[in-house]
C-alpha cells in the first residue's frame, strides 16, 4: 500500500488527478465509517465471537492452504474502496490498488526476501558510476488491446509518474535524480535511463506499486480503460463499486488459474467480514482482521484466516522540531522507557515481531541487528538531565486503524516506570492524517512493510522528503544514504545502510516497537493465497480441486 493516507478524489479535468494521500494505510473511507460506528465496531465482533467460538479453544491461527487448484472459477474479492472517485491509473494516489496487480506489470518486482526480480525488464545493468541504467525488455509481450509492448511504453510510463499534473507519490521519491530528459529508448527493447546523480539502488525504486506500466499516450484514459500487460484484462469497473477482470490467456507468464476475479468495494470492515462469513465473497483484500473477529472467522464452517507475517510496522513518531523532542536525549529517553514485548503482547496479542526501534525488517539483506536495551531508569535520568523531571506528554491516536489506540494505551502504561505520564488524545479518524500526523508532536501511526531499503530510508526518514514524518534532519544520516547510492558494490553499500540504521535507532524521532502480522480472511475453498509486501500472487491463486 502506498505511503500516505487515503483521502482525496480524482478527475478534476480528465487527467488532473489530485493527490489525496496514497494508499499505504488501508483505506481512509472505510476507516472513517468505522470511526462513525464506533461502538458497533467493538460490540459486533464481540457478539459474533461469543456466538462463534463455542469453546473450541484459542485457535485463531491461519490455515492458508497450498496445493492443487481446480482450473477456472470466478473468485469474489471484497476490498475497501480507495475513494469515491478511484481510478485504474497506477501512478495516481487514488489508484484502485487491488486491480493493479491483475491488470499491469512493472519493469521489476519484489521477491519474498526483498530482492529485485525481473518482470517486464529481463535484465539490467548500470554504468560503473551508477548513473546510466540500461534495461533489456521482454519481447513478445502484448497489451490487452493487442499492441506490442515496447520501450516507448516504459519511457512514457516513467514520464507519466513524474508528471506534476498526476501528483504521483512516487514522483517525490524519483524526481531528485530522475527527469524525463534522462530517459531514452535506443530501440524497441532497450530502455536507457540517465540519472542526474548516482543511485545504485535505482532499480529497487521501480518495484513500487505506482510504477506499473501503461501504454504510450494513455495518460488521459488509463484511469477507466485499465489496459495493461497483466494476467487479467478489464471487463468492467465502477469506482467504489463492483468490477470484474477476466483471465488473459495470452499472458507472457502463462494463463492464470482463475477464469475471472470479481472485486466488490465494501467500505465498512465489519460488513466485509459479514460478506465472507455469509459466503458472498471468497477473500477480503487489504484488511487486517482484529483478534476477536479472526476467532469468529476461523470458527466458521466456510471461512478461515491466513497470516502475512510482519506485514505492517507501527511507529510513534516524535516531531523533532517540536518541544520536547528537539532534544535528542529526550528522544532517547522515550525510546528506552518502554518494553517492546509488552507492547506487542498488548496491542496485537503477540502476533508479530519485536522491532527495537529499527523500521527495517529482519529479512531485509541490509538489516542491522542493533538493539537499544529498554532501560526505564536510564530514561528517568536522561529526562532529569534534560531538565524535564516527570514530564506530561500528550499522545494522539484515533480509530483509523484497530491497533493504534491499544498501542497508545500499552505505551502509556509501559512508560510509567520511567516517570513519563502520557495523556491520550483521541482525534477524529476522518482527519487524522491531515490534522494530527506530522502536525502534532506525538502520535501513533503505521506503515506497510515492503519498501526496499533506499525507498524506506530516503522517503520516511531523510530531511527534505515530504513524508519525513518526524521532520528529522541529520546530516550524517543523509550523507550515508548518498554514499550508499554512489557505491556500486553491494557489500560496501550494506555497510553504509547499517551505519545509517544505527544513527536512525539512536537519534531519530521514530519509536518503532514492533512489526505486526496481517490476518486476512478467506474462504476455506481458496488455495495458493500468497501475499507479501506489496505483492499479491494473482496467477496461482485458485479454488480447491
Amino acid at each position: 500500500m502506498a505511503i500516505d493516507q487515503h483521502g482525496g478524489t480524482a478527475g478534476i479535468d480528465d487527467n488532473v488527478l489530485m493527490n489525496g494521500a496514497a494508499v499505504d494505510r488501508g483505506r481512509g473511507r472505510g476507516m472513517s465509517r468505522r470511526a462513525l460506528l464506533g461502538a458497533a465496531a467493538l460490540a459486533a465482533p464481540l457478539g459474533l465471537a461469543a456466538c462463534g467460538s463455542s469453546g473450541s479453544g484459542p485457535s485463531a491461527e491461519s490455515t492458508a492452504v497450498t496445493g492443487a487448484a481446480a482450473k477456472g472459477g470466478t473468485m469474489r474479492i471484497a476490498r475497501p474502496p480507495a475513494s469515491a472517485a478511484e481510478s485504474l491509473d497506477p501512478a495516481s494516489s487514488l489508484s484502485a490498488y487491488e486491480y493493479l496487480g491483475t491488470l499491469y506489470n512493472r519493469l521489476v518486482k519484489q521477491a519474498e526476501d526483498g530482492s529485485v526480480l525481473p518482470d517486464l525488464a529481463t535484465s539490467w545493468e548500470s554504468s560503473a558510476d551508477s548513473v546510466t541504467w540500461t534495461f533489456t525488455l521482454r519481447e513478445g509481450v502484448k497489451f490487452h488491446n493487442g499492441n506490442a509492448f515496447t520501450s516507448a511504453d516504459a519511457a512514457y510510463t516513467l514520464a507519466h509518474i513524474l508528471d506534476p499534473k498526476i501528483q504521483s507519490p512516487q514522483a517525490g521519491v524519483l524526481s531528485p535524480f530522475l527527469s524525463t530528459s534522462g530517459i531514452s529508448t535506443p530501440d524497441a527493447k532497450t530502455l536507457v535511463v540517465k540519472l542526474s546523480s548516482p543511485n545504485a539502488e535505482f532499480v529497487s525504486l521501480l518495484m513500487n506499486y505506482n510504477c506499473y506500466l501503461i501504454p504510450e499516450d494513455s495518460s488521459s484514459t488509463i484511469g477507466t480503460t485499465g489496459i495493461g500487460t497483466g494476467p487479467f484484462r478489464l471487463k468492467s469497473f465502477v469506482p467504489a463499486g463492483q468490477g470484474t477482470v477476466l483471465a488473459n490467456s495470452d499472458y507472457f507468464g502463462g494463463a492464470p488459474v482463475l477464469d475471472a476475479i470479481q472485486f466488490t468495494a465494501i467500505a465498512d470492515i465489519q460488513a466485509r467480514v459479514d460478506a465472507l462469513l455469509a459466503g458472498q465473497v471468497d477473500l477480503i483484500a487489504q484488511t487486517n482482521i482484529d483478534y476477536a473477529t479472526s476467532k469468529t472467522v476461523t470458527a466458521s464452517s466456510i471461512a478461515t484466516t491466513a497470516t502475512v507475517k510482519n506485514a505492517e510496522w507501527y511507529v510513534l513518531p516524535m516531531l523533532t522540531t517540536a518541544s520536547p523532542f528537539t532534544d535528542v536525549n529526550v528522544r532517547e529517553a522515550f525510546k528506552i522507557a518502554y518494553q517492546p514485548q509488552d507492547l506487542l503482547d498488548l496491542a496485537v496479542y503477540g502476533r508479530g515481531t519485536v522491532a527495537n526501534n529499527n523500521p527495517v525488517v529482519s529479512s531485509d539483506a541490509n538489516y542491522l541487528d542493533y538493539q537499544v536495551t529498554p532501560d526505564p531508569d536510564k530514561a528517568k535520568s536522561l529526562l532529569k538531565a534534560a531538565g524535564l523531571g516527570s514530564p506530561m506528554q500528550q499522545l494522539y491516536t484515533s480509530t483509523y486503524d484497530a491497533v493504534l489506540t491499544p498501542l497508545a494505551l500499552a505505551y502509556q502504561s509501559s512508560v510509567k516506570n520511567a516517570g513519563i505520564n502520557i495523556s491520550i488524545q483521541t482525534a477524529s479518524a476522518d482527519s487524522y492524517y491531515t490534522d494530527v500526523w506530522m502536525t502534532k508532536p506525538f502520535c501513533v501511526s503505521y506503515w506497510y512493510t515492503g519498501r526496499p531499503i533506499d525507498q524506506l530510508l530516503n522517503q520516511i526518514f531523510r530531511a527534505g522528503s515530504s513524508y519525513n514524518e518526524t521532520s528529522w534532519s541529520d546530516a550524517q544520516f543523509s550523507a550515508l544514504l548518498d554514499d550508499a547510492r554512489k557505491e556500486s558494490d553491494a557489500a560496501k553499500r550494506k555497510v553504509y545502510y547499517q551505519d545509517a540504521q544505527k544513527i536512525l535507532v539512536d537519534s531519530s524521532g521514530s519509536i518503532v516497537p514492533f512489526f505486526a502480522d496481517r490476518t486476512t480472511g478467506l474462504s476455506k475453498k481458496v488455495v495458493n493465497y500468497k501475499e507479501y509486501g506489496f505483492e499479491f500472487d494473482y496467477l496461482h491463486i485458485g479454488f480447491k480441486a
Binding site: 469506482p239 465494501i266 466458521s300 491531515t434
Partner: protein, 320 residues
C-alpha cells in the same frame, strides 16, 4: 377558500424551510476544519497545491458568492457537478436516490402497515397477552441500537441460516433486481427500530378513542364492533400518529446511514457520508435540499391527511 389560503401559507413556509436548510448546510461546511482542497490533497496539501486546486475548482471566491451562484443554478434545476467525480450532481445522486426509494418504499408499505396493525391490536387488547407481547417487543426494538439489531439479523439470517445475503455487493450502480434479495434484512432492521414509536403512539390513541363517549354511544346505538372500529374509532385514533409516521418517513428517505453502512447498501446515506468526508459541497447541498423537501412534504401530507380524516379541522379555530 380558507383551505386554499391555509395550504398556500404552508407552502410558503415550506419553501423558506428548504432555503434555510441549504444555508445552514453551507455555513456548517465552511465551519469544518479543512476544505475540499486539503481533504483531497491530504498529505500533499502544500500551500501552493491548495491554492492551485482552489483556483481550478472556483473555491477561492468569497463564500457568499459561491452560495448565491449555487442557489441561482439550483433554481433552474442545475445543481452543479460533484467536486469529487465531476459528474452532474443529479446523475450521481440519482442511483443512490433510487436505491433509497426502494428500501424506504418497502419499509413504509410493509413496516408501517405492520406497526399500525400491531398498535391497534395492542390498544384493543390492553393488558392482555397480545398487548404485553407487542409492547414488550416494541420497547426492546426502541432501546436496542440499530446497528446491533442489524448485526444480529445478519448473524442469524445471513450467516447462520443463509436465507438472505449479508451485504449488497453490487455497488451504487446496482439494478433493482440485484438489490431485491438484499433489501429485506435492512428493511427488517429499520422496521424494528421505527416500529416502536408508531406502535406505542397508535396503542395510546386507540385506548383513548375507544373510551370516548361517542364510541360508547355508537355501540349503544347497535353498530357492529367492526363498523365502530373502522368507521369511527380508527380515523380519530390515527390523527396523532400521523405526525410520527411523517417524521419516520422523512428519516427513512433522508438517509439511514448506520444501517446502510452495515449492509453496504448504496443509498443516499452512503452518499452523504462520502460527501461530508470529501467536503463535496454541491452533493451535500443537493442532499440538504432533498432532505428538507422530503420532511416538508411529509409533514404537509400528514396535515392534509388529518384534514381529510377530521372534517372539524377544515374550518380554522373550531376544532372542538
Amino acid at each position: 377558500m380558507l383551505l386554499v389560503k391555509a395550504i398556500g401559507r404552508r407552502l410558503g413556509y415550506s419553501v423558506l424551510t428548504v432555503l434555510l436548510a441549504t444555508l445552514l448546510v453551507f455555513v456548517a461546511l465552511q465551519a469544518l476544519p479543512g476544505n475540499l482542497a486539503t481533504q483531497l490533497l491530504g498529505q500533499n496539501a502544500t500551500p501552493a497545491a491548495v491554492a492551485q486546486l482552489d483556483a481550478s475548482l472556483g473555491l477561492n471566491r468569497p463564500a457568499w458568492q459561491r452560495y448565491l451562484d449555487w442557489l441561482g443554478g439550483a433554481l433552474h434545476g442545475d445543481f452543479g457537478r460533484s467536486l469529487v467525480s465531476q459528474q452532474p450532481v443529479l446523475t450521481e445522486a440519482g442511483g443512490y436516490l433510487r436505491n433509497t426509494a426502494l428500501l424506504a418504499g418497502i419499509v413504509i408499505v410493509a413496516g408501517i402497515t405492520l406497526s399500525l396493525v400491531l398498535g391497534v391490536i395492542a390498544g384493543l387488547t390492553r393488558d392482555r397477552w397480545p398487548d404485553l407481547a407487542i409492547s414488550g417487543l416494541s420497547l426492546l426494538g426502541m432501546s436496542v441500537p440499530e446497528f446491533t439489531v442489524a448485526t444480529l439479523l445478519v448473524l442469524a439470517f445471513a450467516i447462520r441460516l443463509n436465507w438472505f445475503p449479508a451485504v449488497v455487493t453490487a455497488g451504487p450502480t446496482a439494478t433493482v433486481g440485484e438489490l431485491l434479495p438484499a433489501v429485506w434484512l435492512p428493511a427488517a432492521a429499520l422496521t424494528a427500530v421505527m416500529a416502536a414509536y408508531i406502535i406505542r403512539m397508535m396503542r395510546t390513541s386507540v385506548i383513548d378513542v375507544m373510551s370516548a363517549e361517542y364510541v360508547t354511544l355508537a355501540r349503544v346505538r347497535g353498530l357492529s364492533s367492526a363498523r365502530v372500529l373502522f368507521r369511527h374509532a380508527l380515523p380519530n385514533a390515527l390523527l396523532p400518529t400521523l405526525n410520527v409516521i411523517a417524521i419516520n418517513i422523512a428519516w427513512l428517505v433522508g438517509g439511514v446511514v448506520v444501517v446502510e453502512s452495515v449492509f453496504n447498501y448504496p443509498g443516499i446515506g452512503t452518499l452523504m457520508i462520502q460527501a461530508v468526508h470529501n467536503r463535496d459541497l454541491p452533493v451535500l447541498q443537493f442532499i440538504a435540499v432533498f432532505g428538507a423537501l422530503t420532511f416538508v412534504v411529509c409533514n404537509l401530507l400528514a396535515d392534509l391527511a388529518a384534514l381529510w380524516l377530521n372534517p372539524r379541522l377544515r374550518t380554522p379555530g373550531r376544532a372542538g
